[in-house]
């Protein structure tokens, strides 16, 4: 039995999704590059105002977060509610690293690079520490532990104090460091990081997105990636053909954490101040909304959702007092429209009618199946 079965599944794993890889990668990279060119053109010609220009970096950060969370939620099939925690680790360690190297590297881009690397390393360590014990948990229990992790990180950030003086980095717990003046402070508890030298740029953001895409797409389409997806679809079947479930899940989790840390580091370098409260449960949920709205497991869908939903609240400013209410309604309506089987069937019939590339045998989608793609 085994002799026949093993090579078969391996081949299948190798073959599976090979055709889709090229297409998915093409669309994903295409979106980034076209988006970059369009936004740059818009900014150069003055069509795009300060408001949207100011959001270039956050858009890149959120797009990148959506991609990295998709690795856990979509590809690995685990619900994570603590992505902001990893982002926080990356952001704050990145800020410290950038401050410490101020005297070493004159160039802002170099410091940004250092911040991103340090942020990624520390976030990966956090992901590893939290990942080892919890990946045995399933479904909503894993979700709650990631939520707990995010809250713990934020809680700790509220009592951590860092400063830099002639002796180097100083650190205190739960009280201000004596003999430090304002300019030497790096992180001051709940007040967070202040006087951050802004080094992030739109180009850095785009590079971040491209790098994240490169890592996630390659992982998704490697042998490991298909192993992870096989485990997601049927854990027992996956285990029975010899896939080391825990190892693969841990790998996806740590990579995702490291990428979130990088995004956090870029985010931290884009504002002159950063408070721990930014990384609360709401931010984790926001990133999850991107992933689900874009289609779970669909990388470029999540990217588009992230970009649109980041801009949407700004576009709704005209509504004044009704802004966030409108945002909530749009969110609910879009969710129902994209996931309700009946409405989807109607939409797909409409698309079929106008779709010149209609293939034979493409039936209207009537079964619900958002989570199993």
């Amino acid at each position: 039995m085994e002799k026949i079965k093993t090579p078969d599944t391996k081949k299948l794993l190798k073959k599976a999704g090979k055709g889709a890889y090229g297409k998915e990668a093409l669309i994903s990279y295409g979106i980034v590059i076209i988006g970059y060119i369009l936004l740059k053109l818009g900014a150069a010609t003055g069509i795009i105002g300060f408001n949207l220009q100011g959001q270039f970096v956050p858009i890149c950060v959120y797009v990148s977060l959506a991609i990295s969370l998709n690795l856990v939620v979509g590809i690995s099939g685990e619900l994570s509610l603590g992505h902001a925690g990893f982002m926080a680790v990356g952001a704050f360690t990145g800020i410290i690293a950038a401050r410490m190297t101020e005297g070493v590297f004159a160039s802002g881009n170099t410091r940004l690079f250092v911040a991103v690397i340090v942020g990624a390393i520390f976030a990966a360590i956090a992901g590893f520490i939290i990942g080892i014990p919890i990946l045995g948990l399933r479904g909503d229990y894993l979700a709650i532990v990631t939520l707990a992790f995010g809250e713990i990180v934020r809680n700790f950030m509220n009592v951590l104090y860092f400063a830099k003086d002639e002796n180097g980095l100083r650190f205190a717990f739960n009280h201000t460091i004596p003999g430090i003046d304002n300019s030497q402070r790096i992180i001051t508890g709940a007040i967070g990081a202040t006087s951050v030298q802004k080094t992030a740029s739109f180009e850095a953001g785009i590079i971040l997105v491209l790098f994240t895409l490169f890592v996630v797409l390659n992982l998704k389409n490697s042998k490991h990636g298909r192993g992870i997806m096989a485990v997601r679809d049927n854990r027992i079947a996956g285990e029975s053909i010899g896939i080391d479930v825990k190892k693969y899940k841990l790998m996806a989790f740590v990579v995702s954490a490291a990428l979130a840390g990088m995004a956090g580091a870029v985010f931290g370098q884009n504002y002159s101040t950063l408070a721990p409260i930014k990384f609360n449960f709401n931010t984790s949920v926001l990133v999850l909304v991107f992933v689900v709205l874009g289609g779970i497991g669909n990388i470029w869908g999540g990217m588009i959702a992230a970009a649109l939903l980041t801009v949407l609240p700004e576009a709704l400013r005209q509504f004044a007092d009704y802004r966030m209410l409108t945002y909530a309604i749009v969110l609910i309506v879009v969710m129902i429209c994209t996931y309700n089987p009946k409405i989807r069937a109607r939409f797909s019939m409409l698309i079929d009618k106008v779709n010149p590339f209609k293939r034979k045998g493409d039936q209207a989608v009537t079964e619900g199946g958002g989570s199993d793609e």
């Binding site: 105002g49 959001q55 508890g189 202040t194 930014k278 802004r323 939409f347």
Partner: protein, 389 residues
């Protein structure tokens, strides 16, 4: 693959619809800058847990703008407040939105952490900023064009420490502060170092994290067990009302000492004001003042918005008048660019400009660091009114 396409199409369509709707909504909306006026903008939390501060600033500033427009036939103002949800990122977005709309002067932003982020942007864009209420020291640091109308957090911490040490030498002081909040931990840090430098000891330091509706019995029990007979609350009045109510139920009655965030506690709907009897607080403004100007302001505010103004509204009102007076003195107006106004106002503010007769201070002047010369005054609540000590 096709399912995914569809989702994206639907999402994109819905978002476009929403954006298109905003286009239509824009015309009918009454807000927005008007041409030929001095365009004053602010950003503050109009939604979310901190919304009451942003809404108060918006209302107070609007009141001042309407008054000036009614009385001055030549120099007209227009005012727009954008929501920042008390978040630095959103606040920068709101600032950029205001820049798109042609803002010339920033009367904000409302809260400290977002204001610190916006201050850096205002510095880079050369827009003059006078914040009504962002009291953290980080707001004005490094920025030559950002000024505060409120007194700064460290000053409040020092003032309270000095006052307690001088007037209540035997008090056993406990503290409950919000360690997830910039404002609260900023005041507490300075209070602690100043009070301890006088050889005094704080008997109990307790914290809570942002949740105004939490259970405070553990913190209160610790303070009670430590024998604290004076409780310093460097927090806003919302959690303070919760703390007082719970302490009352426990039968614990220390003397409370609040800072300017305590103002407003008497007007909290449903709050038993008897609990606030004897509370000491620092405040530059009280709606119960006998002062004529204050009375007129309170009456106009109640008429327009149906509630008593809190200190944030008065600060915002003062900010608009201070900006207006400073512009007249500097000789700049609606026709100047934001940068010209910025340069002129920096010169005026640093050059001894005096704002007389404000609601929150008689004769305000600024130093080149951007701080106002107001001195915190201690008041005691007696019979539902503030009595100056």
């Amino acid at each position: 693959m096709k399912k995914n396409w569809m989702k994206v199409v639907v999402v994109a369509l819905s978002c476009m619809m929403a954006v298109a709707m905003t286009g239509c909504g824009g015309g009918s909306s009454s807000s927005g800058f008007e041409d030929g006026t001095l365009k004053i903008g602010t950003a503050g939390p109009l939604t979310g847990p901190a919304a009451l501060y942003g809404v108060a600033v918006k209302n107070g500033a609007q009141l001042a703008v309407d008054e000036i427009n009614a009385s001055d036939p030549e120099f007209k103002l227009s005012f727009v407040a954008q929501d920042d949800e008390h978040d630095a990122e959103k606040s920068v977005n709101a600032f950029n939105k205001l820049m798109d709309e042609g803002m010339q002067v920033l009367a904000g932003t409302v809260t400290t952490a977002p204001c610190t982020a916006v201050a850096a942007e205002a510095y880079a864009n050369r827009v003059f900023a006078l914040t009504p209420s962002a009291s953290g020291p980080t707001v004005t640091a490094d920025n030559d064009n950002v000024y505060q109308l409120c007194f700064s957090d460290p000053n409040q911490g020092i003032a309270v420490a000095d006052y307690i040490a001088a007037n209540y030498p035997d008090a056993k002081v406990g503290v409950i502060y919000n360690n997830a909040d910039n404002y609260s931990s900023g005041i507490f840090d300075k209070f602690k170092s100043e009070y301890e430098s006088k050889g005094k000891k704080i008997v109990a330091v307790e914290a809570f994290a942002d949740d105004a509706n939490a259970d405070f019995t553990a913190q209160l029990n610790s303070c009670k067990d430590a024998g604290a007979d004076m409780l310093f609350l460097p927090i806003y009045y919302t959690p303070a009302s919760n703390i007082m109510t719970q302490a009352d139920k426990m039968g614990y009655a220390p003397t409370y000492f609040g800072v300017d965030g305590m103002d407003g506690i008497l007007d909290l709907e449903g709050f038993d004001t008897k609990l606030a009897e004897g509370v000491l607080l620092l405040t530059p403004f009280t709606p119960y003042s006998e002062d004529e100007k204050v009375q007129a302001f309170v009456a106009a505010y109640e008429e327009a918005y149906g509630e008593k103004p809190i200190q944030f509204a008065a600060d915002a009102y003062d900010v608009v008048y201070a900006l207006y007076n400073a512009c007249l003195e500097a000789g700049v107006g609606p026709d100047n660019t934001a940068e010209e106004i910025c340069d002129a106002l920096i010169k005026t503010f640093n050059g001894g400009f005096k704002y007389e007769g404000g609601l929150t201070g008689d004769s305000m002047q600024w130093n080149s660091a951007g701080e106002v010369n107001k001195t915190p005054k201690v008041c005691e609540i007696q019979g539902g009114k503030y009595i100056e000590k």
